[in-house]
Symmetry: C2
Subunit: 355 residues, 2 copies
Amino acid sequence: MNFSEYTKKYVPKINNEIKLIWENKLNSTNNLFLKDYYAELRDYFLSGGKRLRPLLTIATFNAFNGKPDEKIIRPSIGLEFLHNASLIHDDIIDKDNLRRGKPTFHYRFREYHKKYNLKRMSDIDFGNSTGIIAGDTSFLTGLEAYLINDFTGELNLTAINFYKTAFIEIANGVLIEIDMVNQKNLTILDYINMVGLKTGALIEKAVLTGVNYTKTGSKFNNELSTYGKNLGIIFQIIDDILGTFGDEKTTGKPTDGDIREGKKTCLLITALNGLDDSKKNKLNSLIENSDMSDEDVIEVKELFREANAIDSCKDLANSYYQEAKSSLEHLKSEIKDFDSEFFENVLDFVIKRDF
Amino acid sequence: MNFSEYTKKYVPKINNEIKLIWENKLNSTNNLFLKDYYAELRDYFLSGGKRLRPLLTIATFNAFNGKPDEKIIRPSIGLEFLHNASLIHDDIIDKDNLRRGKPTFHYRFREYHKKYNLKRMSDIDFGNSTGIIAGDTSFLTGLEAYLINDFTGELNLTAINFYKTAFIEIANGVLIEIDMVNQKNLTILDYINMVGLKTGALIEKAVLTGVNYTKTGSKFNNELSTYGKNLGIIFQIIDDILGTFGDEKTTGKPTDGDIREGKKTCLLITALNGLDDSKKNKLNSLIENSDMSDEDVIEVKELFREANAIDSCKDLANSYYQEAKSSLEHLKSEIKDFDSEFFENVLDFVIKRDF
């Protein structure tokens, strides 16, 4: 099955499983505010998303199990809860009111506050407080994917260990990124290490969770880790390129955001390491200014172009693509009936996307 | 063994286990900011606390196991991580810089920002962001108590289910409390339901986690739940009384905080239900003012006294005390060698405390 067939077959089932978990919480309380809270969590979780992580868990399970089995759907949604939990908190940290054109969770409760004209707390504090608690609720509720399903306790404990480790690695990546804003002389390896944690760890764990529930065990975890982690790294490199040189209408994001934030993107690190000293100093002084003019932003982009930063980043993405491809090749020769189309599709989708 | 003997014997071992978990994280990274982050988490977790929850897990395990066994120490620390994780987030929500005289977690990183003169983010945003991520890290790291220990997978999964449920109940309690500020005509049962979730659930789960790891299984979970949940309810009622009529020097908290916040404490709900209509209206209008004068606060306290609110709340606490005592009595007759001194001590400590 290819990616679009997988999506068509499984996404409705994944969404239904997610819906059931929140509606179960909604129905187990008589408190009207709590009912609104769980309904909002349900709607937020169902408001889109490609379900890449559950799909990867399901496809990996099916490939190594020898035949598809729908009992994998329940545990496949765990990391999707973790992902959404961390998005809810990220949006509070970044003060974003919209994500992909839809209201963020804390912003929904800021609007709720206004709608009901609530007292005492300000609407901003009410939104942030509810959002912090909702992220926590989602982190803990995600465990239900492993507590109630058709697999043995030992397999579920291994999956919970992946769940825990995925978040610790994401947090490490996010903290390293926060700290990088204050660091100089970063290498491209510092960058790869950071995005491997921030974005790669979760995708890697989705794949490892899938194979964990089959008889294969951990035999191919090295290859699967490379495939999953590289998918995340490629995703982030392309994200960095699109964040500055993409089409705002397609990406939905302004192309000056990363530059104005002084974010240590692939483009910036590559450019700083590729330019001669005088231009490097110029770029550094532009980036260090927290109140850049439009002309400054244009000048930064010009320096990125001079350093061939886009091509260097694309080459970098391509090297991780080749490595992931070669891991897939190893797996193909090892596993009978290995339906590799899906895995190749995901890899191609991630490197070729323009949104 | 009594409470103070238990404390003397086990608290150093509990603290050591907590310390090991954070130092393991600290030692597994070369990033200097991450090292500071984990060192701060370690220091924050070790900066005090009676370790009531781990002690309850250990004592319950020992009582039902027939003999003490130190392998219970590792799983006993899980709910202490959960407790601290939720304190870290609570302090961000409540904008508290101090807890029991020591800096809160997000405040530590606000100071860190100043110390290193960091760029881009403000010190407040830096503290809150690091605090949100640190709470999340603690929620997930707490799972390590159940992932690496000397018990079977099935027992650990049951304990993880308690861990998950404890937080969902805490969150429900906290959200009901936030909503209560905007509600009128609350009964004392609404209050008990809220504090049973907010404060009772975690203590209840500590006791249930202890017995879970013994051969007794879930046979006495009803009595143990009553004991644990009531402990929490009593704790909160006394907390409400001390919050308004305690000695500021002993409690470390100003005695006008709850009143000015319009918090639906045991005192307020009891008073509103005990006063005649004209005084009830007076009390309501005083409480609804979000900018109370010192005279208003004194008048509220006077109305609490007129309604005999302190005595009513003490009577309420006492009824939950008697119920918990009677659960303990049932357990005593069922279990040989049941060392009930510890459990009675905790109950007496909670109802008699003045801080």
